[in-house]
Symmetry: C2
Subunit: 410 residues, 2 copies
């Protein structure tokens, strides 16, 4: 008998029929003798409907009242799922964030969980019942309703699993696991049976949207085994694990992530004096623009080229700032482009294999793909290339690094 | 400076535009220096939408989960109204039932308020802010969410007013007060400036749907002055008061209520022995049929005719029971009709005026309206007549008892 925390997202509970299907799935685990705690999101579309109501009243509604408003979405789902389980003869009981004692800080709309009181859940579990918890929400020390920010139901699931010492936190979603890359780009992409937390974190930060990055961090910190599965298909999904994998299991490269949502800016011929990087990046960050990659080449003739990437939606704003900086810093020129993308190879096995980078660059060169910038970490190599080469690059790398499925998945 | 509790119903907050209008009204009272506590219902249609979701899952959803579900409706409204007031520069703060500490018993879907903790509201009021409370909801001793039953937001308003010792509980609705009778039937019907609690209770129990009957009882019990006003029109509405009115203010008849939703059943020639009334009514009540009027004539030749009225929707069920009782009790015949209605004259002044009943019967006789049954109380006389005479009877009585407006209301 195991204790599982299962999290079902908005599309998994997006209609009465889907809530019934989730109830079937929960019941089958319960019938098998497991203790089940379910965390659910709002029915898909509901959160946006509620935000639409708020925007009808105010462009800038207060965060406290936004949280009072949007937290109703998950409360609807817990009641409906409890009813569906009760109809199946399962003793199920719903709990809102405050009822289950999910204590957070007071940062409305992006609160962090500080503590969970497990006594009410334990009582229900010990009585043989299923616990259903509203994801995404909690309360602060003054009994104000808070929410964890969008996608926060994953975090709720992981936090519940950590607090209860669950055997596994199962994240049910509309994909059946974590793939070596996006199957829509590479039909030969393979579902991974296992992936390490570090790899998953890199994949998530690179825009692979299977899991909310904070929930992966949280699971890693509290050593909660995390599994991504499909709500709609059978299968074991992908286990995200702290375990050291054997060298057989441990490929050099686990997956290839990519992100189209990037723009690249360069300040050319900027005098290479101490402090110049911060003089460039502080005004950017003051304008609330997040910087992703930063590349600075070695200095020649006392000047350097300083390159960084930002979210594509911030491109025009960043370029304007860079133009005025060019004058101010006596640089040669500010340039940029937003028809680029980032392709990243991720794998813990990379640590012990020096040749990964050179092999990656050769594969791209063989396809006549010019590399515009490079950054590396312990378990990741990212390159910026022209966006038009994205599919070609990802497919070539996927094949070259032996990630293609033996038989193409149907 | 006064402390007002204002309650706004579902149609008053049925759209973003109407919530904005309520915010204007609340702000005008706040600007005038009053302390304001607002209790709100769910936006009109929302509760039915939520019940529809539940019915999609189960014909008999558990009451506990129904309350978790439907209580979200009011939570949406409090957040939106708080935002609308904040946009107007008013310091407003929303409170759910559990946040404001509305303690109830554990009767889901029809809970009764046991206690209200006013400390959180006092803090907000003392700081010059407006308090916005979700109507209709509370929590029991085990932190389960409860609801007061449909229309319970009126009760929330009155209970808040009682707990806070408010100067007045103002119920904003889609009518501008309590009328001498339904203006759709009698165009000359007059809005009353004042009405006593006893009269209001009789009117409410007779199907005059301005206020939920439990809220009137509650207000009477805790001596909370209650005022019914329109959310959409200016005006002073109708004050429901404990005050003794002067004889000038105190007409013999205050209003005429009526109810079409009735059916009449008679067991004829039933042997008139002790206990026969209960032998008839116990099976009716066991079938969950509520009995309204009960009339038993004096006995002739050892048998009597036993007549009672029920809600029209229970007519067929009641008649079936009565038919089998007829055999069992050796009665002559069970009969009934559902094309009847009840017309009631209400007024505290009736106590000291013996001639009201006889005048009423004469007015009806002059119109050739046959009276099928009569019951009386201290401040009410009700007659059952054929439904086709309803409008004629109400108009004739309204005129005969001097209730018509001097000039017809526009």
């Amino acid at each position: 008998m195991a204790l599982y925390v299962q999290k079902y997202g908005g599309t998994s509970v997006g209609s009465i029929e889907r809530i019934e299907a989730v109830a079937d799935k929960v019941k089958s685990f319960h019938d098998a003798g497991h203790q089940i705690v379910v965390a659910v999101s709002a029915m898909s579309g509901e959160t946006n409907r509620l935000i639409g109501l708020a925007k009808g009243i105010s462009e800038n509604p207060t965060p406290r009242e936004m949280d009072v408003l949007v937290s109703t979405g998950e409360q609807v789902t817990i009641a409906l799922l409890a009813m569906a389980l009760q109809k199946r003869g399962v003793d199920a009981r719903s709990f809102t964030g405050w009822q289950v004692g999910i204590k957070t800080d007071s940062s409305y709309m992006k609160a962090r969980i500080e503590d969970i009181d497990t006594s009410a859940m334990r009582k229900q579990l010990d009585g043989g019942g299923v616990v259903i918890v509203a994801g995404f929400q909690g309360i602060d020390d003054d009994n104000n309703i808070t929410t964890l920010g969008r996608g926060g139901s994953d975090t709720t699931g992981v936090a519940l699993a950590a607090a209860l010492g669950a055997d596994e936190c199962q994240i049910y979603t509309d994909v059946d696991g974590v793939y070596t890359t996006d199957p829509r780009v590479v039909p030969a992409a393979r579902r991974m049976d296992k992936v390490t937390f570090e790899e998953m974190l890199e994949m998530a930060s690179l825009g692979s949207k299977v899991l909310q990055i904070r929930s992966v961090e949280f699971a890693g910190k509290y050593k909660v085994p995390l599994r991504v599965l499909s709500s709609f298909k059978e299968g074991n999904g992908t286990l995200i694990t702290m375990e050291e994998m054997s060298s057989v299991e441990n490929p050099v490269i686990s997956g290839i992530a990519f992100n189209r949502d990037e723009a690249k800016l360069t300040l050319k011929g900027v005098p290479d004096v101490p402090g110049v990087a911060s003089r460039i990046l502080v005004p950017i960050s003051d304008a609330n623009i997040e910087v992703d990659m930063i590349v600075q080449n070695v200095s020649e003739d006392g000047t350097t080229d300083f390159t960084f990437t930002v979210n594509r939606s911030d491109y025009q704003k960043a370029l304007k700032i860079l133009n005025s900086l060019a004058t101010e810093l006596n640089a040669r020129e500010a340039t940029g482009t937003d028809d680029i993308c980032k392709v990243s190879m991720v794998g813990v096995g990379m640590r012990s294999h020096a040749g990964v980078a050179s092999k990656m660059f050769k594969v791209l060169a063989d396809e006549n793909i010019n590399i515009l910038a490079i950054t590396t970490s312990e378990i990741k190599i990212s390159v910026v290339i022209a966006e038009k080469y994205l599919e070609l690059a990802v497919r070539a790398l996927h094949t070259a690094f032996g990630l293609d499925a033996e038989e193409q998945a149907e």
